[in-house]
């Protein structure tokens, strides 16, 4: 069932304590900041968060971690110059970290959405991130078994949705959006604009509406100064 709602708070209202939440974005590109803020305000706790990073600065995911609402982070790159809230929680032993090579993280999310029960990958073979893991030699090369990552919820950001829930993204803000949309039971999308069904060229749809449950239109996404001055 596809819903269009009026506010970020309404969009995330159904997220319960203990949920696994897939959060899109790579750095600030594609990060659904308003949805994350609404999740913070909504009070859900004991969350497992899947994101490339573990929050930066004093906003979004970093604040969820600061408020100890996240029990576990599954990510590829938690340590950044401004990841002080994660760093503090980690050093205090108050957050669990599952570190995954970035491509394995992406493929594990994709596998979940595609109904694949895991896969063997050469990435990470022979490293400490593959210790105690099932391995196999395939065509003379070592591979490591990786499991799918399912989400109860995905929070993602796209440029535009139509009323059928089809999505298009903008530049490198696409990143984890399409695979997270497919991997979660409940996919919640913030977009800059909603257009009538039929206004998106079907050839250009990136995420078909079948993967989308809730859409909320929020402030227009970033544009270059030049594009702004043209409008």
């Amino acid at each position: 069932m596809l819903n269009f709602v009026q506010s970020a708070a309404e969009a995330v209202a159904g997220i319960s304590d203990g949920a696994t939440v897939l959060i899109g974005g790579f750095g600030n590109a594609g990060q659904p900041m308003e949805l994350i803020t609404a999740l913070l305000d909504g009070g859900a706790t004991g969350l497992t968060v899947v994101n490339n990073n573990a929050g930066q600065g004093d906003a979004g995911l970093a604040l969820l971690i600061k408020e100890r609402r996240v029990d576990k982070v599954i990510c590829s790159f938690p340590r950044q110059s401004d990841s002080w809230h994660f760093d503090a929680a980690y050093r205090a032993g108050e957050i669990e970290l599952e570190l995954v090579p970035q491509g394995n993280l992406a493929e594990r999310i994709r596998a979940a959405g595609a109904g694949i029960g895991g896969f063997f990958t050469p990435t990470g073979y022979g490293t400490m991130l593959a210790e105690d893991r099932e391995t196999r030699m395939i065509d003379g090369r070592g591979h490591v078994y990786e499991t799918p990552i399912y989400g109860d919820v995905a929070l993602i950001k796209a440029l535009t949705a139509d009323k059928a829930g089809n999505l298009v993204y903008r530049k490198t803000a696409r990143n984890f959006g399409p695979i997270m949309a497919a991997a979660a039971i409940n996919t919640i999308v913030q977009v800059g604009s909603v257009v009538p069904t039929g206004d998106l060229d079907p050839e250009n749809v990136v995420t078909p509406g079948i993967y989308v449950n809730t859409v909320v239109r929020l402030d227009a996404p970033a544009r270059t100064e030049r594009e702004r001055s043209r409008q």
Binding site: S76, V100, M128
Partner: protein, 222 residues
């Protein structure tokens, strides 16, 4: 392989970072698809020529990446793997993260250039973790890049500030990938790693004999 800049370089002085980047750029074959790691490898892009027709990949979902964005080109939806705003070139394309890493893992990238803490005589790479007990581990795309590209070139200084060789028999730091590095570009020499061992292609401000004395890895003379 394009010989270009590298073949007849007078090897009388150690190379600076810019000269090293220029050397790597000159060795990248025409028409290659290339990923440049964060940090020193990024300098290579400054020396790629239009005639080389090299297409740059960034693992956060783009082929055809252009130079760093300045002024009103800056767009927060268009960044590279180091989260720096960049530009797009004609012919660029965007794709999601799983496709981007499938492209890498599937062997479609010709060359990846990475920095390193250590490289072993058999091409093992250590570049993500110094193993310090209080460090927060972060791997990003390093393991995927090391494993996926057809050729993995490392750019590094040959010795640490303390004077320890970074080309070693066995890495003491946690590995990024096993047997993945094919070439090492350093300020003092270029090393080719093959089935028969580590070959010295050229030296800068040193000699084969001096290198052999200072590095605990058996070297083959080119």
């Amino acid at each position: 392989m394009s010989k270009g800049l590298s073949s007849k370089r007078p090897g009388s002085q150690r190379l600076g970072k810019e000269q090293l980047a220029q050397l790597v750029a000159g060795d990248i074959a025409q028409g290659s698809f290339v990923n440049l790691g964060i940090g020193q490898p990024t300098l290579v892009s400054n020396y790629l020529t239009a005639e080389q027709h090299v297409t740059l990949h960034t693992e956060n979902g783009m082929l055809g990446m252009g130079p760093v964005a300045v002024g009103d080109q800056i767009d927060e939806d268009l960044i590279n793997a180091g989260k720096i705003p960049v530009t797009e070139l004609p012919g660029a394309s965007y794709f999601h993260h799983a496709d981007s890493f499938a492209m890498m893992r599937g062997g479609h990238l010709d060359v990846c250039v990475l920095g390193a803490f250590q490289v072993s005589a058999t091409g093992d790479l250590a570049n993500w973790n110094t193993g310090a007990p209080d460090a927060i581990p972060a791997v990003g795309g390093a393991m995927d890049l090391a494993t996926g590209a057809k050729d993995v070139y490392v750019m590094m200084s040959l010795f640490t500030k303390e004077g320890a060789a970074k080309l070693v028999q066995t890495c003491s730091y946690p590995l990024t990938g096993v047997g993945c590095v094919t070439r090492i570009y350093t300020n003092e020499a270029v090393f080719l790693i093959g089935p028969d061992g580590v070959r010295v292609r050229e030296t800068f401000g040193t000699t084969f004999a001096e290198l052999q004395e200072r590095i605990g890895v058996e070297l083959l003379d080119d």
